[in-house]
């Protein structure tokens, strides 16, 4: 199954936990420190560094790109560390988060409430996944190094739907 961004709620309707999906289009990187910053920005009433509506966030902290490489190694990090912030972002329109591993019930509930999705990429397959990244551009928080936010253009980025819009959870089937 192929999905192109923006991933609207309509495109997610009918997809089931366990479905293999390839994403093409724009996705944003953000992990621990970037989530903390974005949460603080929201607390202060500031705009997020990118439009969260129907957006895809990829939980990743890449290696630095070597010369002649578009991006570094870029596999998913453990999603659970973002669980304190994820429900708020889903409620603001986030469509898909991509990471690896379990989510807390609060995140499952937020996904269900918003008919959104949580997808998982293969942990530790950073070299292979980097081959799907065709363009990378720094968006915010450069000082955070590997935790900065990048806008990535990806082609056929392989993921598995882990929690679908009805709250079905791949890890509990």
């Amino acid at each position: 199954m192929k999905l192109t961004t923006p991933i609207t709620k309509e495109k997610l309707a009918g997809l089931k936990a366990g479905d293999a999906i390839e994403i093409t289009g724009t996705i944003y990187t953000a992990r621990d420190a970037a989530h903390k910053r974005m949460n603080e920005m929201l607390d202060c009433g500031e705009e997020l560094p990118f439009d969260i509506k129907d957006a895809v966030i990829y939980y990743v902290g890449p290696t630095p790109a070597a010369p002649n490489h578009v991006f570094g190694s870029a596999g998913p990090t453990t999603s659970m560390r973002m669980d304190a912030y994820a429900p708020r972002l889903y409620d603001l329109g986030l469509s898909v988060s991509i990471g690896k591993g379990y989510r807390t019930q609060a995140v499952v509930d937020a996904i269900k409430r918003n008919h959104a999705a949580y997808m998982v990429a293969i942990g530790g397959a950073g070299a292979l996944l980097s081959q799907c990244i065709k363009k990378a551009e720094l968006v915010a928080f450069e000082e955070l190094g590997p935790e900065a936010v990048y806008r990535l253009e990806v082609v056929d980025f392989p993921v598995t739907l882990a929690i679908d819009g009805e709250g079905h959870n791949l890890y509990e089937e």
Partner: protein, 281 residues
């Protein structure tokens, strides 16, 4: 007495941290290949094939296998008849980490303190250095570049001696169940038994540095390593937590004498890459 130029340590650490981040250690690759052959779950086998393909791309295109290129721990064994020259041993090792992570385009993942500002040190130092004195004139360097997804799932239990083998098994199995997909299975499990609270944790980490082609020298503990591996692989967590026979590639146990009242059991969980290397000088 042997004179030893500490600059050799810088060069060795720099090379070793790069090597293990671009190519699986031979022992771990061997376990991964053999698990892939035996895996009976379709999705499990496909996932293991995916990891093998990832390893091939990392090697061919020179991209780190995983973006988490780890927190470095160095185990330095120093012969008591060795005299170090040309500077500080500790600084030479830190410099090796600095150079390796810079030259190798590896991710700098260290923050200077754990709680308040968490500012990235931007060169992946400081690493943790454990030094032991051994007999003779040899210097031995072992390193591990440990990813955090698996490290975070590690546990320690101060068991009662009466809990015995069953207590140890339950502690290890519970840790693996809780880790699930978070720890990037198939995992390598390091178990530290005995010593004290802190020493058991040290042993557990050191067990993941030991070759996955090795066994505990005491046949009773070697048998326990095999039993634990077999029971872990019956949990049906599978590669990446997507079900299957391959939840762990290897269980290594390290042991130490302990107090009459103690049975410390530490479980250090490592991922399918388990970057470790050893060099003898």
């Amino acid at each position: 007495m042997r004179e030893f130029d500490v600059r050799q340590l810088t060069e060795a650490v720099s090379t070793m941290v790069q090597d293990v981040n671009y190519r699986y250690p031979a022992d771990v690759k061997h376990c991964l290949d053999s698990a892939c052959e035996k895996e009976t779950s379709r999705i499990g086998k496909a996932t293991l094939e995916y990891l093998k393909l990832n390893a091939a791309i990392a090697d061919e295109k020179h991209i780190p296998i995983c973006q988490d290129t780890g927190m470095v721990a160095v185990y330095l064994y120093v012969g008591q008849d060795v005299h170090f020259t040309h500077g500080s041993v500790n600084e030479a090792i830190q410099e090796g980490v600095r150079q390796g992570y810079d030259k190798g385009y590896l991710r700098k993942s260290m923050v200077s303190e754990p709680l308040f500002e968490r500012v990235n040190t931007k060169d992946n130092t400081p690493c943790m250095i454990y030094t032991s004195i051994i007999d003779g004139e040899q210097v031995i360097l072992e390193i591990t570049c440990k990813g955090a997804g698996s490290e975070n799932m590690s546990v320690i239990e101060m068991l009662k001696p009466a809990q015995g083998i069953e207590g140890v098994k339950q502690t290890v199995l519970n840790a693996v169940k809780k880790a699930g997909p978070n720890a990037c299975p198939p995992m390598v499990i390091g178990v530290g038994l005995g010593g004290s609270f802190d020493y058991a944790a040290y042993l557990a980490k050191k067990a993941t540095v030991r070759s996955c082609d090795s066994a505990h020298p005491d046949p009773r503990y070697a048998a326990l390593e095999d039993q634990l591996l077999s029971e872990i692989n019956q949990l049906n967590i599978g590669p990446q937590g997507l079900k299957g026979d391959t939840t762990a590639l290897k269980v290594n146990i390290e042991t130490h004498a302990t107090h009459i009242a103690c049975l410390p059991c530490a479980v250090n969980i490592s991922c399918h890459i388990t970057r470790h290397a050893r060099r003898e000088f």
